[in-house]
């Protein structure tokens, strides 16, 4: 199997920093690491399994309604995840609120189904979906780590910046909590990536 299938989406073709997909949710759910991890995992499951399922039935799908069929499959997985979170991780489900439901509209998922799953076998499609979800999740986790550390002084809700820092005059950066800072951070990540990977730079 071509290693590029799972290597590319993680760095060279990262859905967030290179394809610039799924920006909305990566700004919205990265205030805390816990929410970002759940979101990353949810998106991985949805991209992976909906790609696999669509790939399984790809030869039977009537071409004229293929987008609708894809949407139904994606929506099913998203609702399943939403239901499971409500039952087993209610607080996380509340803090992610509408964004779990909005996974449906995450361009990465429909993008990968259209571009990959419709023309490939189920197993490569599953791997492609999982890898794209992982690439997205990775950016989410990096963003959330920076934002939670500097915005609230915590990691996974645990205080990591010692009290003595605050006593010495350190203040949490309130801007980190707000979405604009997430956009700036995404920009910084894109900048770093492009300076490493010269072929992405526009002439």
């Amino acid at each position: 199997m071509d290693k590029e299938i799972y290597k590319k989406p993680i760095f060279k073709g990262n859905p967030v920093t290179v394809l610039v997909l799924g920006i909305c949710s990566s700004l919205a759910v990265t205030v805390q690491l816990k929410g970002a991890c759940v979101m990353a995992l949810s998106v991985m499951i949805v991209t992976g399994f909906s790609s696999m399922l669509v790939s399984l039935i790809r030869n039977t799908i009537p071409n004229r309604i293929r987008i609708i069929v894809q949407l139904v499959v994606v929506a099913m997985f998203v609702i399943l995840i939403d239901q499971f979170l409500k039952a087993f991780a209610y607080d996380v489900s509340k803090s992610l609120s509408v964004y779990i439901g909005l996974i449906i509209t995450n361009c990465i998922i429909m993008g990968r189904i259209e571009a990959f799953a419709l023309g490939n076998k189920p197993i490569p499609s599953l791997i492609d979906g999982l890898a794209n979800g992982f690439g997205y999740g990775l950016v989410l986790i990096v963003l959330a780590f920076v934002r939670e550390l500097f915005g609230s002084g915590t990691i996974f809700g645990l205080q990591v910046i010692p009290q003595s820092f605050y006593d010495a005059g350190y203040v949490n950066n309130g801007l980190m909590i707000l979405p604009p800072m997430a956009l700036i951070l995404v920009g910084v990540i894109v900048w770093i990536q492009r300076s490493i990977q010269k072929d992405l730079q526009e002439k």
């Binding site: 919205a28 030869n59 039977t60 799908i61 009537p62 071409n63 004229r64 309604i65 609708i68 069929v69 139904v72 499959v73 929506a75 099913m76 609702i79 399943l80 239901q83 499971f84 409500k86 039952a87 087993f88 209610y90 607080d91 509340k94 609120s97 509408v98």
Partner: protein
């Protein structure tokens, strides 16, 4: 097979939708018990937080155990249900199970006499705090909350609100503890009459005992919350008045007084006298707990006072 024919397309879509719907229905049914438990726990926490309890879960303790523990300790079986006249019609379990959405639609339709009003009574170190719900339509979906009132029936101890789908960062801020903290210490009374808490666009003047700041950028949600609180607390006014001892016509002594003159035995529970009609709210708060109808004026002072009070 021709996958592009109309028949194939329609049949395919129908089968796909039916299968997906079946899977979702099955999962939703099998998880609903667990989900409802979470919702109930959330509700208990929201009620407790209005009274200033359970905001922080101590480390090392599960949220579910902690909230249930607090609930049993402070609220337990003390809650009850009122009708629109302020009369008790139900017990604690019913109070918790009342669906605010359907009660609110009764309110909207004006079917006040059928409405059921839950009151959650929270006991903190011997001090009684009554917690009243509110419910209304926000911008995108329902908003609801609880207002905790001290035993004088006019000082707000705290309030909590939640919402289904208000915009995060704008209307959603009603669920933010720093917005809710504004309600503590506000008065539900102005110039001797009931006044709900106003949510004031542009900010409440400092020292305003009846108003709090609205949320910038969330005018509709702020207004909706204002209406929700006012309309629901208004429903509880017969009960407030009963507790405060302001006798309304048709309630308690208001009706009874005419009959009292020949009906009084002078032995009615020893303490039940007309003094309370003269603003002694506290005495009444204790007294009205017994059934006082028709027996209010063994002291014989009822006549004059009663009429005055009725006019309030």
């Amino acid at each position: 097979m021709n996958t592009n024919s109309n028949v194939y397309t329609v049949v395919y879509a129908a089968i796909l939708v039916a299968v997906v719907a079946g899977i979702l229905a099955f999962v939703s049914t099998s998880l609903s018990g667990k989900q409802q438990e979470n919702v109930a726990l959330e509700k208990q926490q929201l009620i407790l937080r209005a009274a200033g309890l359970g905001a922080e879960i101590p480390a090392g303790q599960s949220k579910s155990d902690y909230i249930k523990g607090l609930w049993n300790e402070h609220i337990g079986e003390n809650s009850f249900v009122l009708n629109a006249n302020g009369e008790k019609i139900g017990e604690a379990e019913e109070a918790f199970a009342i669906d605010m959405k359907s009660q609110n639609s009764l309110l909207k339709k004006g079917m006040i006499e059928e409405i059921q009003l839950p009151v959650f009574v929270c006991d903190i170190n011997g001090e009684t705090i009554n917690i009243f719900p509110c419910y209304g339509a926000g911008l995108w979906g329902p908003i609801w909350g609880y207002v905790a009132v001290a035993s004088d029936y006019q000082t707000v101890v705290g309030a909590t609100f939640d919402h289904k789908s208000e915009t995060p960062g704008l209307g959603g801020e009603i669920a933010n503890p720093s917005f809710q903290a504004q309600f503590a210490g506000k008065q539900l009374i102005k110039d001797g009459a009931f006044k709900s808490i106003s949510i004031i666009k542009g900010g409440a003047p400092s020292g305003d005992e009846n108003g709090v700041d609205a949320i910038t950028g969330a005018t509709i949600t702020s207004k909706a919350l204002d209406v929700a609180i006012a309309s629901w607390l208004d429903l509880y006014q017969p009960y407030f008045n009963l507790k405060k001892g302001v006798v309304m016509s048709g309630d308690c002594c208001g009706d009874g007084c005419g009959e009292c003159e020949d009906g009084c035995s002078g032995e009615h529970n020893g303490q039940h006298n007309c003094q309370h009609h003269q603003n002694s709210a506290q005495t009444v708060a204790q007294n009205v707990q017994d059934d006082c109808s028709g027996n209010c004026d063994e002291c014989g002072k009822c006549d004059g006072q009663e009429k005055k009070v009725n006019n309030i």
